[in-house]
């Protein structure tokens, strides 16, 4: 295994541990926005879609990159907007 791969695996494992640590403190009240917010974060795969779009040089790759880009963008934009919509409803005092 290359040093790059080993580094990547180290990052992966540490990020999983950070995820466990950060999430286990979230109260049940906020579990839906939490899941929706986490959902938006995996929209980062859009960056992957941009990278494959950049390296594409045939129609198959163009098509795959375009669909991946549409999917990723829907995930990111929709995810953050809907999470924000939910969180603004959580008020200490009613309107």
């Amino acid at each position: 295994m290359s040093p790059e791969l080993l580094n990547a695996i180290a990052i992966f494992v540490l990020a999983i541990l950070v995820g466990f640590e950060v999430i286990s403190k979230v109260p049940a009240t906020l579990h839906t926005p939490l899941m929706s917010g986490a959902n938006s974060i995996h929209g980062i795969v859009m960056v992957g879609a941009m990278l494959i779009a950049a390296s594409a040089d045939n129609w198959v790759s163009y098509a795959l990159a375009f669909v991946a880009m549409v999917f990723g963008a829907a995930n990111v934009v929709g995810g953050y907007v809907v999470t924000d919509r939910m969180l603004q409803m959580f008020r200490k005092r009613p309107k």
């Binding site: 790059e4 990547a8 990052i11 992966f12 990020a15 999983i16 950070v18 995820g19 466990f20 950060v22 999430i23 286990s24 109260p27 049940a28 009240t29 906020l30 579990h31 839906t32 939490l34 899941m35 929706s36 917010g37 986490a38 959902n39 938006s40 974060i41 995996h42 929209g43 980062i44 795969v45 960056v47 992957g48 879609a49 941009m50 990278l51 494959i52 779009a53 390296s55 594409a56 790759s61 163009y62 795959l64 991946a68 880009m69 549409v70 999917f71 990723g72 829907a74 995930n75 990111v76 934009v77 929709g78 953050y80 809907v82 924000d84 969180l87 959580f90 008020r91 200490k92 009613p94």
Partner: protein, 487 residues
Amino acid sequence: MSQPTIDALVFLAWLVGAAGFVLGLHQMNSPATARRGNQLSAAGMALAVVVTFVWLLTPGNPIRPGGMGFEAIAIILVGFVVGGGIGLWMARKVAMTAMPQLVSLFNAVGGGAAALVAIDDYIHIVGTPELSISTAIFVVLGAVIGSVTFSGSVIASGKLQGIVPGKPITFPGSRLVTALTALVAVAGLVVLVMGAAGLLTLTAETQLIALGLIVVAALIFGITLVLPIGGADMPVVISLLNSFTGTAAAMAGFVIGNPVLIISGALVGASGAILTKLMADAMNRSIANIMVGGFGTGDTGGGEGPAGATGSVREIGVDDAAIQLAYAQKVIIVPGYGLAVAQAQHACRELADLLEDRGIEVSYAIHPVAGRMPGHMNVLLAEANVPYPQLKEMDEVNPEFERADVALVVGANDVTNPAARTNKSSPIYGMPILDVDKARSIVVIKRSMRPGYAGIDNELYADPKTGMLFADAREGLTALTAAVKAL
């Protein structure tokens, strides 16, 4: 600026973006800071995306020497506008009751995008020396997990929306199909890894066909995985699929060697895993048991089981119930998904407001699996303007029941059944429940004596302290509000 400097700055920007995700999630541990946390996370995302775009334009970038061309720019911009536009539109118009299916849908597209990234990278490097054993493994994992998530989430979303029947669907040989598709995926993985290792001489075409078969098998697997699972088990399914999408994004990150995908994917994978475990624990069932499916009727209160009226239940009129509530000092409302089905959140809050105006202490006891996704009931009540300090978690509220004069149960059933504590032969024995039976008196608003999701009788209803108010949730609450006003 020299290219190595630019590349380093891009890497650092990705790292800052990932830090935004972690800190944003951290701020979600309190309703007071959660909104800022989500905005921080969004800012991290915007930074990562914009920096990547600019980087790909620089002539020296290692992905596309000379800078990406017109086609790539068009794909990225048009794709963003189309996808982002659809996402924005859906996020704006969705009703809060429909949140689980929307989250499922975003899950589906995220998983699909991860699978496509892995597949496209494989098309580029297959047949070249760049294809290593580890890359082949990550490609197959990314493609499989992403595809399973895609089709599974689409089915889950369809079930929640009512397009696909919510009840468990099984057909003869469905287990066999699931097993076969899993076998195809594993066999494909072995073949491709052996091909990458040089143990098998395969042409590039053969390897692509193998990957194609794996993807098709994974898509079918996702469908047959979710079809047999009942509607009320959806909180677990959605959490698990969310975890899968994160993992798929991380695998795609390994394939294209991108750290921000790996970090973010791992974060989401871990968070989804925790929620899955919490939800399964709250149902007192193992994740495996839920995923095998076939449990329950598909919808709380929708049970077609026998109308079992064990023991004698005491029926109570609206006026009597209103008097109990109006002269209490402490009332705990126990809402279940039935409340949301009847669209009674606002009626519920109006009654609570009225009681508060009379100086009564009102709070809501919310079971972790009330609703169709983790924490769903809290969102529905927040939408109805219930202040969040009144929303109490199970562990927090259970000791309070013995001090409550009235527990008002609306649309919740199995999670209030004391048999879970006392009756070892009950199918729900051991499930953590809300200790409603410890309240001084109990009022249950329910349409009929029909059993809940687990298909069993609720001992709470036969308790001498319990009064049954037979009514639709919304009509019952509205009538109670009117009766309290008239006192």
